[in-house]
Symmetry: none
Subunit: 379 residues, 2 copies
């Protein structure tokens, strides 16, 4: 693979979470970014956030001259990759092309079918995301330390791979080169099947027979376990049907494991009665739980992930207009920049807890300022 | 139910995460706390953390005189509740008793079988926890705003319920009174079955055929969805076998939903090839995903439920000290109470987005005030 410098000019098609985040990351590195989105409000917000210059048409007629752009990043849903790529290539929007769809074999097949020039196209997939979508949720550090899969086809040129690799690196991500089929089997396991599993569990909560009182007993575990199930239904239907066979294989295994656990548990007599549970059932369940722990242990930690080691300062505040203003004014007067804030407030309680995240070297000054202002404060 | 003051003296048996957290919370409210644990190191650490005074024996012979304690909180694993309760009642450790096991029908049945005085015992279950366990992970605010189920038996006295309720309230939790059987069905759905589902998914990651490269593609979604599967295997085996029938019923439904999804996906031909996926399969999957989203939407948020629908107002702000103060001052001057705030800010970017949650009828005034102040603002 030849070395390539970070692209000087990039067109980002699609100003959602992924496209806008990549644009922000590239702009930080000095790359010129042009943005286009079918939704003018989305692209305007992305531009307001400093993600780049708005392109009036997807063909780039009001943007840089055709061929001036090194690279076009197509941050659109899977089904749109092939048509958008074909159109962009016809307009000569850029020298090299990549996309971010989480299904690669289907995307590549459709691009071939649409007559795209595959030698200039590197199918890609950044493994980063958030529950929230849209440009407002974008972050320049979204890809920091994250894997970004690149799945060049046999006909993809080395120069294309080099150019896209340098863009991925400029976004702070770690390129992982594999083929489309292998990629699809891997993400079926670590992303697509888990989405369906979370949805199938959460679907049980939606039954009319489940009273709100039952949901009131939900803890953080249920929230975490089902959070991914809030993803966009159309997008996820595209993803799942586009990666059908690998996802089906994983789901069938999980279903079998759960049906087995259900059968073993249903065979225990006398739960709720004095009889001791069958030791065999306990052993069977313990084995499944051990395998689950072993699986979780294999998931790598956030190595090199968003390096935001902020210190949290907790302040008890009263629930009335102006209280937060007074708090932030006190922080500002102490010269402390608040990096993030969260509010914990129990309904009906006259007070809540504001958790202010600041750089560690600012925590002392903030605590002193807030304590002087009469707020109960602790690190 | 008769009113009862916050207990003056409480014995906490079991200095793990839950017991120590409750002890810390009670101490903050001025309650005297005695602690016992089978592990001397655990109870010593809890005492060091300020959770109370160490009791030399579980019978309390070196503690307060028998009957001097209002309440004994048994924070021990499910299988130990009945024997510990019987022993504590024989020693006359306290007037009222409660426990924290997440399975209630079995616990109550075993307590009856052990000859315990049920009139003085309120089976309980705080819906709070952390991934970490042990006294070092304890927090006085662990129960703040969380549900704490109380499942009095027919023979439990009103005075016992009142005393335990006042302790629960003193811990900052919200008492939810129901019967043991109903509780067990509810927690099977919102806690026990989700644990097994997460484990069954995570177990797929533990297979030797899965290479580390596949796990390198794991994102935050997989981490969240499988996090609960790291729970203690022995404890969870006790819980699951102790609530076998209700858990089995939920798992069988989830397994059926996943087997169905696997079958539908496996029926799609030509994913990865030019053929369009069968629209019927897409519809089937979309329905499951919609049900999943509907289920997640029913889980109450930190403000106590989906009933409080705040309107989110997005404001582009610059990253400098005092900017948030100016923003909140403008909101306060417009008489608008900010219910919650989130800040999206990419490190290194000069601007970010503040998302202000307000009551719907305040959104117009807030937007007008911020727009007048020169902030780019969007609903």
């Amino acid at each position: 693979m030849t070395e390539a410098p970070c692209p000087r000019q990039v067109v980002v098609i699609g100003a959602g979470l992924i496209g806008t985040s990549a644009a922000l990351a590239l702009r930080r590195g000095g790359t010129g970014v042009w943005l286009w989105d079918a939704d003018p409000a989305a692209v305007a917000l992305a531009a307001d956030l400093g993600a780049g210059q708005v392109l009036g048409t997807i063909d780039g007629s009001d943007g840089p001259a055709p061929g001036r752009c090194d690279l076009a990043l197509l941050a659109v849903p899977p089904a749109e990759v092939a048509p958008v790529l074909a159109r962009a290539q016809r307009a000569g929007l850029a020298r090299w092309y990549t996309d971010v769809a989480s299904v690669k074999a289907m995307t590549l097949a459709r691009a071939r079918e649409a007559g795209c020039d595959i030698s200039r196209y590197v199918p890609g997939h950044p493994l980063a995301g958030r529950e929230r979508s849209g440009p407002a949720a974008a972050r320049a550090d979204l890809f920091l330390g994250r894997a970004w899969a690149l799945c060049p086809a046999p006909e993809t040129s080395e120069a294309a791979v080099a150019a896209v690799t340098s863009m991925v690196t400029a976004c702070g991500a770690e390129p992982v080169v594999t083929d489309a089929g292998t990629h699809d089997r891997w993400v079926a396991l670590v992303s697509h099947a888990p989405h369906v599993v979370a949805a199938a569990m959460a679907a049980q909560l939606s039954r009319p027979s489940v009273p709100p009182e039952a949901l009131a007993l939900a803890g953080q575990g249920l929230r975490d376990a089902t959070r991914i199930a809030v993803g966009d239904v159309d997008l996820w239907t595209q993803i799942l049907t586009g990666n059908a066979a690998p996802v089906a294989a994983v789901l069938a295994e999980v279903a079998a494991g759960l049906a087995d656990a259900a059968r073993v548990l249903a065979g225990i007599t006398g739960s709720g009665s004095p009889g001791a549970p069958a030791p065999e059932a306990g052993k069977h369940l313990a084995l499944l739980l051990e395998q689950g722990r072993a699986g979780v242990a294999r998931i790598p930690g956030k190595h090199g992930g968003p390096a935001r080691a902020f210190t949290a300062v907790q302040v008890v505040i009263s629930d009335r207009p102006g209280e937060l203003a007074r708090l932030f004014t006190a922080a500002a007067e102490a010269g402390v920049n608040i990096e993030d804030v969260g509010i914990e407030h129990s309904p009906g309680q006259p007070v809540g807890v504001a958790e202010l995240s600041v750089r560690p070297d600012s925590a002392g000054a903030l605590i002193a300022a807030l304590a002087a202002g009469g707020w109960p404060v602790r690190r």
